[in-house]
Symmetry: none
Subunit: 418 residues, 2 copies
């Protein structure tokens, strides 16, 4: 009894996109404890899809398809599967109705192409797609064989998987031993330094502890195998607590917690507000903060002072200072932070000024040099200098700048009495 993943799409064979769907589904199968031994990628070609199907049904009892459910001529997953099992396609009026309504609501034109998206093999159940147009299906064309189809768009597939497929599989009896994990997240410590500190935990058989690197962030995954999520969590928690104690403030949260959500909670608890003054990040810090729903409780906004004139006009940065020392300097970072704090009347403020590259660097001020200013309610300002390195690309330097700004505020809030 095992599940196999089949990703349909010529764009995968051309190397146009990364196959994130396969990784997501594989992770989910592991979490649910469903054995998984094969993945295949095949193009939008009926003959070859049939070949893959032939192999797959001989060795797996759950086949999960992604891709090929769209309205264009290349989208042929459903009809190809139906043909393989010599089953006619029938139109589902309720699906056609749903598609029609979705187009009306978005004031887009529906075309005849879209009609085929309401066709499913006789006997197949609709796997609804709340976020997109094309539904998938759950079909058992013969005993001990279940096919699930999903669109290739990752956000749509994931939602359909969680909302419909997982409950279905669990109702079938899958997921009796589950694997549950907690991803511990750290900022401001290197991967090998952390690994050295927690080395003893790497030998633990259950839960297991494994390191993962990510851009700027370091992660440890604590995974436990148990009959239920509750029991798995009871195994995980003592280990996670010990690791957190060792890591101190370098640990910032776990799983979906981000620097932005953690900072948000700290500010919300203290009922304090934050504003930002951004130069080289161009709005990226504000964007990161406002990814969090409810951030309007503490985030007022700020100024994107990309041009120096805006630093002067809106933030009161001295033109002489800009002339003498340049925008990328400690005093300018300080004036930017104080300026936006005063203008918006916020309790805390963050400023970022730096050289994101690839141009703009010099011997004296290389690409990757960034100053972060942090103004506290008493108008004291801490300045932090970063040198991210000239070989780092623009996007990375901007991302690391915004994250480090959040981390500095996080540490300051943890250190300061409310």
């Amino acid at each position: 009894m095992s599940a196999e993943i089949i990703c349909v799409g010529t764009e995968l064979l051309l190397g146009d996109i990364l196959n994130s769907n396969a990784q997501y589904l594989a992770k989910e199968l592991a979490r649910l404890g469903i054995p998984h031994y094969y993945q295949s990628v095949v193009g939008d070609n009926p003959g070859r899809i049939h070949q893959v199907l032939e192999m797959a049904i001989a060795r797996s009892s759950i086949l999960i398809f992604t891709g090929g459910l769209g309205p264009t001529p290349d989208d042929l997953t459903t009809e190809t599967i139906a043909e393989f099992f010599h089953t006619p396609l029938i139109e589902h009026p309720e699906v056609l109705q749903d598609i029609t309504e979705k187009f009306a609501m978005r004031r887009r034109e529906m075309t005849p192409n879209n009609r085929k998206q309401a066709l499913l093999p006789q006997g197949a159940a609709v796997l609804p797609n709340p976020s997109g147009t094309a539904p998938g299906m759950i079909w058992q064309p013969k005993p001990d064989l279940t096919l699930l189809t999903f669109p290739g768009v990752p956000s749509e597939m994931r939602r359909m998987w969680q909302e419909t497929a997982v409950p279905f599989l669990q109702a079938q009896g899958w997921g009796k031993q589950i694997i549950h994990s907690r991803l511990l997240r750290f900022w401001g410590i290197g991967e090998s330094t952390l690994a050295t500190k927690v080395a003893d935990f790497f030998d633990s058989p259950n839960p297991t502890v494994a390191p993962y690197a990510s851009a700027g962030e370091v992660r440890l995954r604590v995974s436990a195998k148990a009959p239920s999520e509750g029991e798995a969590i009871r195994l995980i928690e003592p280990i996670a607590a010990q690791i957190q104690a060792i890591a101190g403030a370098d640990y910032f949260g776990h799983d979906e917690q981000t620097l932005a959500t953690v900072v948000g909670e700290l500010l919300r608890d203290r009922q304090q507000t934050l504003s930002v003054a951004e130069s080289c990040t161009g709005g990226g810090l504000g964007e990161m903060l406002t990814q969090v729903a409810g951030s309007s409780d503490y985030f007022q906004g700020g100024v994107i002072s990309y041009a120096n004139t805006v630093k002067t006009q809106l933030l009161g940065v001295s033109p002489e200072l800009l002339n003498q020392l340049g925008a990328v300097s400690e005093p300018v970072a300080k004036q930017m932070a104080l300026g936006v704090q005063k203008q918006l009347g916020s309790d805390w403020s963050l400023s970022i000024t730096g050289i994101a590259g690839p141009g703009g660097g010099s011997d004296h001020k290389p690409v990757g040099l960034v100053y972060i200013g942090l103004a506290a309610p008493n108008q004291t300002v801490d300045i932090f200098e970063y040198r991210f390195g000239q070989e780092r690309d623009r996007a990375t330097i901007r991302y690391m700048s915004a994250c480090n700004a959040l981390d500095r505020l996080r540490r300051k809030l943890l250190d300061s009495p409310s």
Copy 2:
């Protein structure tokens, strides 16, 4: 004559890592014009690797393996392949020497496990690995069948591919025909509507035209097969031009061009400046604009007026208007646009005010309702209303808002005399 990719590694089946090797190799095969129809992922298991081999040799003449060449007990690609073809493994003294030297140089300890990395099937040629320990192999166990093996570490695999495998394949006569593609990008038109307009091109044999959907954007890929990149481009250009003529302003660029780069070029050509006033996008529009190196030529910055007080204080939006009509309204979008344009003295400005969700919606003003304001140099303001739909998530609504703001400015610039 086609090539197939087989990725060996249980970590792929657990969803621990993304399969970037498959994408890289697929792209390379496309570039070299080597037909490629199947990809498989299989775990560190001899029986299942044999199953995949069985299928693969029946349908492909080049098999490319990644993974399983390391020193641990789980690494068994080479011995499994040799066993499949009933061929003994023999030790290569020069490889063993090379491995020994590499360990000495890195002052690491070599273990007995490493010795197996010098074993290859009789008749196989070494595929050297300058960056790592384990070499791969090039082996033709029977006529018309070539196997290439690579380690799973992406940087090592890529180097071996470029330095040894590609010249080998080209010497065999592959890559005489290359495939070159141009990705045409469209905004403001639905996938099926565009497909209907360009339906005739889908039948073109060379170049081929294929549609791709992406979040909000629609793409068409025009691919030509020819002996050289130059000749391929000469085949592509007339088709691309015809499609562009059909699509009009819905076409915005190709390949690496984005809405932000295109808007940037239009502004730079006219030597005009832009500022932004952002509410629900929180800085995301500024961030998108400043992803482009050199955007300081035209982008001055703006105001993140997340709180209503900031809309009033920095943008001069009337508090009465905010009270009566609310922040998400046409008149407020207009005042935001005019306000930032005046404050920063920019030629053009964009404003965004809306409900990103998931909270904040009402019957009257649902989640996904967004107003975009576009102020021109003569201070006229166009307002655009969007209803992205309540089932869309926060990140999508914010992303679509920023992109649509850029698209509206793009269309206005194309329509207006410089």
